[in-house]
């Protein structure tokens, strides 16, 4: 599974992209976040307020209940500010 972080999430976590291999019971984004938060204090900090974070699964907007599986691309980022 490929996980991407943007903007201040990337800065807090210290990496923009990583390949992860969570256990089989990590079946949705919410479980993935819980699992990622155990990887270190940067993750813990980045995912502190889930209400402040948007996410996408395979480049489409999704929510925390969205299923994830091996091979997916999951991205976490703040609300967008382009234009």
């Amino acid at each position: 599974m490929k996980v991407l972080y943007f903007a201040w999430l990337r800065q807090k976590i210290g990496v923009g992209e990583e390949s992860v291999d969570p256990p089989a019971d990590v079946a949705d984004v919410r479980a993935l976040v819980a699992w990622l938060k155990e990887r270190g204090p940067g993750y813990e900090q980045a995912f502190q307020d889930l209400g402040a974070i948007k996410l996408a699964v395979n480049q489409e907007y999704a929510d925390l209940d969205h299923p994830v599986k091996r091979g997916d691309e999951v991205a976490f980022f703040p609300p967008v500010t382009g234009g």
Binding site: L4, F6, A7, W8, R10, A56, Q59, E60, Y61, A75, F77, P78, P79, V80, T81, G82, G83
Partner: protein, 157 residues
Amino acid sequence: MTVKVQREDFDPGREIEALSAGNPKVGGVCSFVGLVRDMNDVAGQMSDVGALTLEHYPGMTERQLEEIEAEAHRRWPLEASLIVHRYGRMTPGERIVLVATASPHREAAFEACHFLIDWLKTKAPFWKVEETGAGAERWVEARDSDDAAAARWAEKG
């Protein structure tokens, strides 16, 4: 329908002309160019901006912009449309984004162009970080007014 996500600057005049070139059905071309300002409104206070850097999500950005453009064509009778959005570091006065629409009718051109920029602002995965002097930076926060502007285009269910 064209989407360009690029680091380089663009030529608004050339892009606008291309939208109607060779198509005498076009009666009007509406466009909007967004530029880097030297000030930004941070929690109600005006704050100086030395430069900003736009980060984006390659792949998803293009995909989202294409979806937004397709939605505009679904809603209005457009002959052509264009979105150009830059990423990377930019200083005040530089162009960030161009949206443009060409239609037989000016009302459709205006509405669709307005729609493109409003939806882009809340849906396209770009993030701005501003340089605020002495090496400090600040991530621009999403605005309620942008959410409200986008919500105006929500279709009645």
